[in-house]
Subunit: 392 residues, 2 copies
């Protein structure tokens, strides 16, 4: 029997931001917290030791990918996701829903005959693997069964990822099916859980206020351990849309349960979503940007295009003997120069991607830590102004 708990210890007076602590069988997460994503049981190029050093508190794995490779049976035999990858801290997996739909869409685009590759029924969804085209079938029960085998501390109810381009009527018509899938997820979980995993319900409803309200009411009526807000990072929605959704939903959520925002986390987003009451969020941005040479910097060192990052590939950095960003305490900034990183990227050395991922994850974790401090000191709004200025 593991233990799970969440406690809000401090609330910001000037916003909905809050300080809390999620307790899991594998340790405590100080919130607000960023969660880097390691799709295939690895945060691109980083070891668990690196994750610790960068201040990472929780690891996010993708059920869709891990089911296809190496398979949940393998991960289970190795003692679960954390043990499999050598990470002893808290872990979370998603339901597979997002990948089924987003990768399915991509496969359909590539398919000359435009065959429908995803078949949805009320019972579940049939889809093809993006790896080998093999057929798979996920139901809510199957998603939870897999997540039980993967063994993450936190798991997520199975839902459908809705395109941002659906009309309100279309979203309204599928919402009951999504809610039913989540209810079935919870029922399966309650029946089969060994008590050491905790399940989050997901609130959907696209960018429609009324539908988000309906979804929030329904999902909150079920006995989930926490809540996630989904369907805000599909592609197409503006940052304003994302912030609006969060703003509609969080006041309706119970105070005493943790709130995760799925797939959001650029520098400016982080301030906006924490301000609106989000406790945890996951995002591939720090690693994905890092691998192309975009490195996070203090806004004083950014440029007009983007105050929060530099493109280290640019030739102006070739002779720059400074660190990626001043006052950064990370291993990369303490030991390497912009010039050396520019050289590694130009030379396509594997070390380039590694150092970039490391710095970016450290930077975000460190930023969120500073935000926690600012909230506690009543200086959250001030810090937000200093970072975002008049940008938003």
């Amino acid at each position: 029997m593991g233990k799970f708990g969440f406690k809000v210890s401090f609330k910001d007076k000037s916003s909905k931001a809050r300080i809390g602590k999620i307790t899991t069988p594998h340790g405590v997460i100080q919130t607000p917290a960023f969660t880097p994503v390691g799709t295939q049981a690895s945060v691109k190029s980083l070891t668990p030791r690196d994750l610790k050093e960068t201040g990472t508190q929780m690891f996010f794995g993708n059920t869709y990918h891990l089911h296809l490779r190496p398979g949940e049976d393998v991960v289970e035999k190795f003692g679960g996701l954390g043990r499999f990858m050598g990470w002893d801290g808290p872990t979370i997996t998603d339901s597979g829903g997002f990948q089924i739909f987003s990768l399915g869409d991509r496969l359909e685009e590539k398919n000359p005959e435009r065959t429908k590759l995803i078949e949805i029924s009320d019972n579940g969804v049939k889809f093809r693997s993006h790896l080998d085209g093999s057929l798979h079938y996920f139901t809510p029960e199957e998603s939870i069964r897999i997540q039980h085998a993967l063994g993450a501390d936190l798991i997520i109810a199975f839902d459908e990822c809705l395109s941002y381009f659906l009309t309100e009527e279309q979203v309204e018509s599928v919402l009951p099916r999504i809610h039913n899938w989540e209810k079935r997820s919870l029922e399966y979980h309650e029946k089969h859980s060994k008590g050491n995993q905790f399940i989050y319900g997901v609130i959907q409803g696209a960018a429609f206020k009324d539908l988000r309200k309906i979804s929030t009411d329904f999902i909150c009526s079920l006995d989930f351990d926490g809540f996630a807000i989904g369907g805000v990072a599909n592609a197409g929605e503006s940052k304003k849309d994302i912030y609006s959704v969060v703003e509609w939903v969080t006041p309706e959520l119970p105070e005493g349960k943790p709130r995760h925002l799925l797939g959001v986390g650029e520098v400016d987003d982080i301030f906006e979503i924490i301000e609106r009451g989000i406790d945890t969020f996951d995002c591939v941005i720090p690693t994905r940007l890092g691998r192309t040479g975009f490195l996070f910097v203090d806004p004083k060192e950014g440029n007009i295009e983007n105050r929060f990052r530099i493109d280290i590939n640019k030739s102006i950095f070739a002779k720059d003997q400074g660190p990626v960003t001043k006052d950064c305490g990370c291993y990369v900034c303490q030991n390497f120069t912009r010039g050396y990183l520019n050289h590694l990227f130009r030379s396509r050395e594997l070390l380039a991607y590694r150092l970039a991922s490391y710095h970016n994850i450290y930077f975000i974790n460190n930023l969120v830590e500073k935000i926690r401090d600012a909230i506690l000191n009543g200086e959250f709004k001030k810090m937000k102004r200093e970072w975002l200025g008049g940008r938003i």
Copy 2:
């Protein structure tokens, strides 16, 4: 003024193996020692901290590559090769000769008109960059000038890399030019060195005993700080050829100066070359093999094809919960399973190449450390028998 020194502290009674210590301005190298290669100022995917942890004593950089990118002027401005890459230990650079000839050959093969891309005269060699086809001209003086700018502790005289397929007459005819280039290298070095770099002469002569003798005599007549044996790892020569060359040359070298073997270092080679009196050697094998999934193991765990490595890509390892190799104290073997590494390689995760390089370099450094101990305990031959068995 840096200091340089070499001292043999112990000689094996049953072979030419010896224990020694090379002192450089950036620290001491216990010999025999393996030196991993970091062509572009980075040992593939590893940080200087990793190099330290894997027991690496000296870093080997390639002058040809560093001249083309980022350029020796940049490296010099950053404080030299070590400072540029964040490595505070001893460094060595080669002369550029080997790459000019081996990469030039490859470019010529790809070139449909088979234009001669390398033009050699008595003065030097004109060649095209493998990066952008730009023209460059290396003379002995230019190679040493570049190596002075790169600033490694140990540098190497400029020579010509001879094809293994040349006849004895052909090799004999070019040997005087090579010797002259090395003499000019030394003269330029003596005139321009700041006294903190030390130069090795290279012994050539292909696989011809008489020519190796002539080369050894000539190079030893010059006041080099140490000696390298070159032209044994071109492609085509058998392991027996390599060992023969070492066996002919080392007895003719002065006892009190260090001996480096260029480009050799498979597990069995290591025993054979140390037995024949080599002090240091560099090799890309551990990292190159590692990146394709070949991981070094104790011979008890190897297989019939190769007792010293496994191919972690093979499906038999997918559910293997053991470490890469038993009794290995490296970070990889202490924290990860064969099953996880198999998953990383199958998933082409960047972490795969990193963990493989780390383990392989640790394994070789650790092997050489054990060999040093065995020599000191009078058990070198016994250890060699245990590792190589009746294989050679």
